[in-house]
């Protein structure tokens, strides 16, 4: 089969989003099922791409318009992108199913469109091989995220979205300045070629460009203190959207940041920026965990926890070794699974019991045992108990840090896990052992199945981490090994200085 068909990953959500207005005029009720069907098909395509890439061992290069890079824009679906496109599709599918139940605010057809375009944006960000195209996809992601954050049309939603817009706007402007500097020095926008020529950039320009690019992406990647929008947006957004934010939107931003840093490793600024990311990542973990500590709104607590985990990933990537990158990718995967589960569960609780404050979680074990079980498993996993998936990524992170002699990272993980233990155990205790009045809720079958699936995934990876770890290692190699990346992109021979 022609591998260029992988471009359907971009085309399908797009054409489907454009089709929604037509569907709406036929039947308003058909919109949400349509969304589910499309995400399911997207999952199928993503699974095919994943299979192709991992069995073939070679990345799929999609060349738009048939022009070879750097003349045309290419999508680079390597091991990392294949993995994350699949995660995006699966998470999107689950959240689409969840949306059928949880989205009550009209106009749902617009919601469906924005939902699809958010997926599209993240998919594009992960797979693109052109730095300006990255900016475009980043804006697609960001703007649909703005709209979705404000979707509930409450004051809080608008406020959260506004913060996101202002900070995101500043970030993207400076990101574009960075692109301008890179383009001005090299005359190309193709990432592989930029990596190839990175050594030629004037050091001053390289420093500023790299710094600005990282700055712009760090806003999306939620590194402290550029993440101030995140808790608000997470809290205010509709529940499925929050889950998607945590599961893949932030990861797409982080990925792009790491990719660009690694691409420009030939520049002198490389080690400096790695150190900076390490510091920012560390502070992100500390502040995130501490902020979650006494949170009374569970959704917000999870948001802070999510931010802290992103900090771990950033720390992993900033170790500057392949082991560190592997640990970071592995943590990304595990965290995506866990947080999708937890935000789904929290959203479901909010739907049934009317809120996400800790009061609503009293006696949840009696009222909604399955949901409470799901949250418990997720929480235990995040704390880092063996036999659950996050444990392995934390271990790998520790080993990677040890290899480069950064023992401080270990202390960081230890401290963070202690704090996580405190607030998650408080929550677990509240759910299971505090009594509250209220009827037992009849839990939705489909959502129950989804939650159990994710729980099963957490435990399966926890018990047999090998397969997942291998995949993560391959994905990380794709990210880390820049010379291989350059080789994989079929650059047009004539176009070079």
């Amino acid at each position: 089969m022609n591998l260029q068909f992988a471009s359907l990953l971009i085309a399908l959500p797009l054409i489907s989003a454009f089709f929604v207005p037509v569907i709406k005029t036929i039947s308003r009720k058909a919109v949400m099922p349509f969304l589910v069907i499309i995400t399911a098909v997207q999952t199928g395509i993503a699974a095919w791409v994943f299979e192709e890439v991992y069995t073939g061992g070679k990345p799929i290069i999609i060349m738009a318009g048939g022009f070879k890079p750097p003349v045309g824009i290419n999508l680079y679906i390597g091991h990392f992108a294949a993995l994350f496109v699949l995660i995006i599709a699966v998470a999107g599918f689950f959240m689409a199913v969840f949306s059928m139940k949880s989205i009550g605010v009209e106009p749902k057809d617009k919601y469906a469109m924005l939902f699809l375009l958010l997926m599209l944006g993240a998919t594009g960000m992960i797979s693109t091989g052109d730095i300006f195209n990255l900016f475009v996809f980043m804006e697609i992601t960001a703007i649909s995220a703005y709209a979705l954050t404000a979707y509930n049309k409450t004051g809080e939603a608008s406020e959260g979205a506004m913060k996101y817009i202002v900070l995101g706007g500043i970030g993207s402007s400076f990101f574009l300045v960075g692109i301008a500097l890179i383009y001005g020095s090299l005359g190309t926008l193709n990432m592989a070629q930029i990596a190839q020529l990175a050594g030629n950039i004037n050091p001053t320009v390289a420093q500023a460009a790299l710094a600005l690019l990282v700055f712009g992406l760090a806003v999306e990647a939620e590194l402290f203190p550029l993440n101030a929008w995140a808790p608000d947006a997470y809290q205010a957004a509709p529940h499925p959207v929050t889950a998607m934010f945590s599961a893949f939107v932030v990861k797409a931003g982080l990925y792009a940041m790491v990719r660009i840093i690694y691409l420009l490793r030939d520049t002198q600024a490389f080690t400096g920026i790695l150190r900076l990311v390490l510091i920012l990542g560390t502070i992100t973990v500390v502040i995130g965990e501490l902020s979650a500590l006494r949170q009374t709104n569970v959704k917000r607590m999870f948001a802070y926890s999510s931010i802290a985990q992103v900090g771990f990933m950033a720390v992993g990537f900033s170790l500057g070794t392949q082991a560190g990158a592997s640990a970071g990718v592995f943590h990304m995967v595990n965290h995506a699974i866990v947080k999708a589960l937890m935000f789904l569960a929290v959203g479901y609780v909010a739907l049934e019991l009317g809120g996400t404050s800790i009061e609503d979680f009293k006696g949840l074990g009696k009222k909604m045992p399955l949901t409470a079980f799901a949250i418990t498993v997720g929480a235990i996993s995040i704390i880092g108990i063996p036999m659950f998936n996050v444990f392995w990524s934390k271990i790998q992170l520790i080993l990677a840090a040890l290899k480069v002699g950064k023992t401080g990272v270990i202390a960081l993980i230890l401290g963070a896990s202690l704090v996580e233990a405190v607030y998650y155990i408080r929550l677990i205790h509240t759910m299971w052992f505090e009594s509250a009045n209220g009827e037992k809720v009849k839990e939705n079958f489909t959502l129950g199945v989804i939650m159990l699936l994710l729980v099963a995934l957490i435990i399966v990876i926890g018990v047999f981490p090998n397969a997942a770890w291998n995949i993560a290692q391959k994905a990380a190699a794709d990210l880390y090994n820049v010379s291989q990346y350059i080789k994989n992109v079929p650059l047009l021979p004539g176009v070079s200085p």
């Binding site: 300006f132 004051g155 608008s158 406020e159 959260g160 706007g169 500043i170 383009y183």
Partner: protein, 115 residues
């Protein structure tokens, strides 16, 4: 260090925009600041593509491949402008919603979500 007047203007616009975002209390003014920043960035992009003495990259009537300016930044700016418009439109919409709910656009008062 010497930068051309176009660069200077572009960077100044970016900084003026940033200044507005950092200092102004009115949300609309902050959004205006963001727009100014975007404009500055677009100007910067376009000036980077300029090559002294050459004309627009429309290859007819005596303009050949060797006396046209770089077409890429112009294409990029086209995209960037549209993205800027989209952001602004959405931001204004959110501002409308905010005003309808809280009857204020003072960012000091729009602080329900915190901590």
């Amino acid at each position: 260090m010497s930068i051309g007047v176009y660069y200077f203007g572009a960077v100044s616009l970016i900084l003026i925009g940033l200044y507005a975002v950092l200092v102004k209390k009115n949300l609309l003014k902050i959004l205006v600041g963001l727009s100014i920043m975007e404009t500055g960035v677009n100007l910067l992009l376009i000036s980077i593509g300029y090559i002294a003495g050459r004309s627009a990259p429309i290859l007819s009537e005596g303009v050949g491949p060797n006396n046209a300016v770089d077409p890429i930044p112009q294409a990029l700016v086209l995209t960037a402008i549209v993205i800027g418009v989209a952001t602004t439109a959405l931001a204004l919409t959110v501002a409308i919603n905010l005003y309808e709910t809280y009857k204020t656009l003072n960012i000091e008062e729009l602080r329900r979500l915190r901590g």
